[in-house]
């Protein structure tokens, strides 16, 4: 194999050097600088649900599962945890409140659950919209 380091008069070396380097388009440098400036001005990524929010959701889920475990009776005949608690009565406080009549609306279970779900969804949308508005 030839000694590449010492062959200064190698015609291939001379020709490759004389053919020189090729030029990129005229906007090459500006394109890079523009891309860099847009990157530096943009805000770093933040998750939609913050870590605090995730903790709250996790906590609620954990509480839900624990409560389910506690309140479900062991068998059909046994009592639930709730029924096993000692009974106590609150001392009756006799207050004379004005007689208010709140109309009693009796709605079906499906309607109540859907109202609850819709209000939860509306709450989530409101939070997302607030966050979006804050970053604009």
């Amino acid at each position: 194999m030839r000694n590449f380091e010492l062959d200064e008069k190698d015609p291939l070396k001379v020709w490759i050097r004389e053919s020189g380097a090729e030029s990129p388009s005229s906007g090459f440098q500006m394109n890079i600088l523009n891309k860099l400036s847009t990157q530096t001005s943009s805000k770093p990524y933040e998750p939609v649900i913050s870590s605090f929010g995730l903790k709250i959701i996790g906590g609620l889920l954990a509480a839900f599962f624990i409560s389910v475990l506690l309140f479900v009776p062991a068998s059909e005949s046994s009592l639930s945890f709730w029924n096993q608690l000692p009974e106590f009565t609150l001392p009756w406080v006799n207050l004379s409140l004005p007689a208010l009549f709140i109309p009693k609306i009796e709605l079906g279970l499906v309607f109540n659950i859907s109202v609850l779900i819709f209000s939860l969804m509306a709450f989530c949308v409101a939070i997302l919209a607030t966050r979006k508005w804050r970053y604009q």
Binding site: R2, E5, W15, R17, E18, G20, E22, P24, F28
Partner: protein, 191 residues
């Protein structure tokens, strides 16, 4: 335009001077683009590769240890970026059939090339470089045009010394073969 040492621009860029980084790009853009072009063989892609490489350089400038030359570090980034691009596009390497090297014929052929005008010869050289395998044309470009030593090419490509030398040897052989082919074709086109 007369440029200053790379370290001057690097230090100023690290201080937040974007103008200094602009000058650093301007200083190296031609060689960076040429290396990318020799590997990806497409001007648009080569420009994208070189731009992405400069962006990476900017973002990791803090990690540049100054143990090696800035150009070696830059070419390593460009080389890897270009190879990544090639892998993505899954384009096959340009295969060049083995051409037996005939020293006797080569002398006449080389004399013929020497007698050509600079512009014509440069065009033929570029065509021949484009017809090589990406690894060979990259090593030839790094060694002959960008004046990197074998040691530096080892660092850029992560090949062993013997592998770099083999690539240089094969690259030369294939390039001469390609030059013969191209110049014969040009001659046929003229007739």
């Amino acid at each position: 335009m007369r440029f200053l040492e790379d370290l001057y621009y690097i230090e100023n860029t690290l201080k937040g001077d974007m103008n200094a980084f602009g000058l650093l790009i301007q200083k190296h853009e031609k060689y960076a683009y040429t290396l990318a072009l020799r590997i990806v063989k497409n001007p648009e892609e080569a420009e994208e590769v070189a731009q992405d490489a400069f962006m990476k350089v900017y973002h990791s400038l803090k990690t540049f240890e100054k143990k090696s030359k800035f150009t070696t570090w830059l070419y390593k980034i460009i080389y890897n970026e270009a190879l990544g691009r090639l892998r993505k596009s899954k384009r096959d390497n340009v295969q060049l059939e083995e051409i037996p090297e005939s020293e006797e014929y080569q002398v006449d052929f080389l004399d013929g090339l020497s007698s050509l005008h600079l512009e014509e010869r440069s065009q033929l050289i570029r065509k021949a470089l484009d017809s090589l395998k990406p690894s060979e044309s990259a090593v030839l470009t790094l060694f002959y045009l960008e004046e990197q030593t074998i040691k530096e090419i080892e660092e850029i490509t992560e090949f062993s010394e013997s592998h770099v030398k083999i690539l240089l040897h094969r690259g030369r052989k294939h390039m001469l073969g390609s030059l013969k082919k191209i110049s014969n074709q040009e001659l046929i086109n003229l007739l």
